[in-house]
Amino acid sequence: MSDQQSRDKGKAAELPAELRYIQYEHALEKQYLPSIRALISKDLSEPYSIYVYRYFLYQWGDLCFMALGPNSSLLGVIICKLEPHQSHSPPTLRGYIAMLAVSEGWRNHGIATTLVRKAIDVMVERDADEVVLETEETNVPAMKLYERLGFIRSKKLHRYYLNGNSAYRLVLHLKKMVEMSGQDLV
């Protein structure tokens, strides 16, 4: 661990006793969507429209988890989808982690790790074959987090982001390839 990191970790407040994780459901939109948007937009130069959030949350609310702190404040969130995917290879049931963010003051406490695990656990229950995502090449914390869970970089995507940065596609297989859904999906 570098000095910088240990200092950051020291600085972060203790985990609140009230920390809890809840699965999103549609009825929670009014209460949480504004803070979800605010939390995610913080790290974006271009915001997503409300339809993007609804696209995910309405169809895959059960793959969205929130970390809540004191007074039900939002500390972290993960948003995903799960769909059959087919391009060059046999089709798979593919989970996709679309957005993940933890509020700055609460980082390095394992919150993101827990959120990702909860989302993957639901995907596993729903018989997903694999999980994929993209992350900026410079986003070391995110890459470490995913790689610690078992993702590997399958390819690099040149100048994938508007800021000119490249990305890595990270992939986690949840099953052996011979056991993947294959033809059942088409």
Binding site: E29, Y55, Q59, E134, I152, K156, H158, Y160
Partner: protein, 765 residues
Amino acid sequence: MHGEGLSAISQDVANLTLDDRPRNLAPFAAYDSEPPPPPKLKSRGVIAMDITEQFTNAAQQLNMGQLIKDPYFTLFESVGALEIMDRKMDSGYLEPGESMEDEYDFSEALLPEEIIGIIDQLLCHEMAWHMGHPLSQTIFTSLYIDRLLSPCPLTLDQTYFDRSESCSSDEPLTLQILRAYCLGLIRTCSYVNNRVKAEHYYEEEDFVTHTFNRTLLENIDHESILKLLDETGELLTSSSEMSSDLKRALGCRLRFRAQFLKIVDMADARTPTNIKELWTALLASLPEIKMSAHLGKAVPQSFSTKIQRKLASTVPPRPIVQVGQEAAFEHLERLCRDASVVVEVLKYYDSHSLMTFVILFQTRKPQPSVYVRILLQHYLFCDMVILGTMSIRQVLDDDLAATVLPAHKLLDRGNDDIEVPHDPRHNMAGRMEVFRSRAAGSYLDILRTICQNRCRIRRTLCHTIADWDNLQLDAEELDQELREFTGEEPIIDPEISNDPIYSFPLSSWAYFYKLRQMEWIVQLGFELDTYQPEELAGMYWYLQYLSKTRSRHLERIRGFIMKTYAAFRRNPETAGPKQAKYANALSFVNFSTMESAATYGFADALSCLYTVLHRLSLVQSPSRPYSDDSMRYEVRMKPFSAIGLPELIQFDDLSQLITQPNDSTIDIINFAADSVMGAKKGFEVLSKLSAKDAYCQGSHDSWVKNIKDCLKACIFASIAISTVKKFVEAAGKDSQVKAKVEIPTAGKGYHDWWIVPKIILSKDT
């Protein structure tokens, strides 16, 4: 997705040209409470009716946040949706007091210093565009450029910045200079843009050709712009309005513009020209511009993001891209240098040297700019005439002759003239034509692929490799059919096999290239930082496996060439040129064998070194809750999983081969030490080969540099190996080694394909 992944999509959406009318939403959004008039439907038989009420009623049935969508509503569409009155999405949204457009007085005279300032800023924008940013956030942010392009002028007379009556007669010299410069700039962009669009590139990723519905002065004659630049230069020389410093500074900028414009016009030619000298001259003209940049005075108010509202784009204005002068000049200098080198590709020596040229040109660092890479593609492929002089068949036949079929009757052009159906020569010609039509595309695609950006090369190879596997199978069938017509005598060697052994020349050729590409896939993985440290032992093992397979395959090819060569020598009538063809093919096979030996020696050494580092717990593979080693291996090897030959090594076998459980650590490290010494000798020999023997004619210098970098990495590795060896010898069986390992990230080592760990002793040893 996170971050701008989605906005990358939204950029795509924004770039869809929706319609040609200016999207003037703003008055509607901000002030107008009247609903817009109903659309006028022209189609007969359609009766429009007002459904506002039904719609409002239906909408009220919905809960907040409920999504109504058809099954085809995609993420792409959700990203394309806009929220009106959101400043980052609604292009018509204005802050209180903000005006829609800029008010800029184009009739106002500018100081010469200001002209220099604007020109230099435009050069920064031009380079930013070359680097991959859109025109809308670079060149098109200049109000002067906007003035030139909108409305679209048809003649030079329509390009005055000042549109008042008297403008043409009394345009100040300063404004004329700026106008001439801007015209030259836009016209240059037009050439570049059209060139890029004609070849294979990735929009957004490499370059943005989108012009937002503006025409880049394609209506105005190129010569007249050059003439204006020249005349303006003369006018400047004879003017007494300004100091000689300023005159010189403006003069060299005008000359640069004219030169650049001439070059991009001429650069397309594939016939011998003095284009190389022109690029070099352009490069030589830059220092004068650079040195006089300090005379410039910036005019920031002449650049604005608001112009984007007038462009065919749905997104709100994005910030102006900031590329500093230093970076801009650096990019331009490199562009000139690379462009002056790339024209050398037009001199053809042999097919292998051609491929080496393209590979080495693309590994220049930083990778040559998109425009230059596009020129390379243009030189190679334009109109399906290779390098402007050769048919695809010529290049392919050259390559077959130089790899597997020297002086062979299958490649005899005379076969084409035989029309007797059962003449073997007629049949050979027919089958070879089938083969060429099957293989030529795949072969040329290798070259085309190498011209892409580094990430794309690897991605594309991962897909096309399966095609080569099929090509090899198809070629195998043709090989068998052709035996009937060539009357090939098999090798009978009971020591190898009871069956007769045939040469299979066409499928051998395909297999050779398939192996090469598989090696590149693994090697590019190192270059692009794709592997985690714990994967390195396995990936270097795979690399040595592929290279060794290539080496053995070359051995087989050599055997068959030698056999036909021996037969040929027994026949004294066949003379000179054929001899040279045999020599050439053998020399290539020898060269490639040497190169593969250095590669597998080094890869083997590194694989063993990483294995030892694992054993010493200096490289760790922590357990991963959602996966295990074999599942990650499947992800990693997915591109190879469908390949028939060489068969993918099963995970359990591979892990035995890598961990070498039956060998002692000291044995493994000793093997690594021997292996790396062998590789080092190999690279040394390679580095001394002539351009001809190394099949790098036309790019010998780059080739030597590349080999020397491998050699440096190799020497560095041998040091690491002997350091580790000392530990292993000193430490007892289970004692902990007090050291640390640093694995350099991409670009930090001596060579991108050789990741050599740095062994650092802990202080307390």
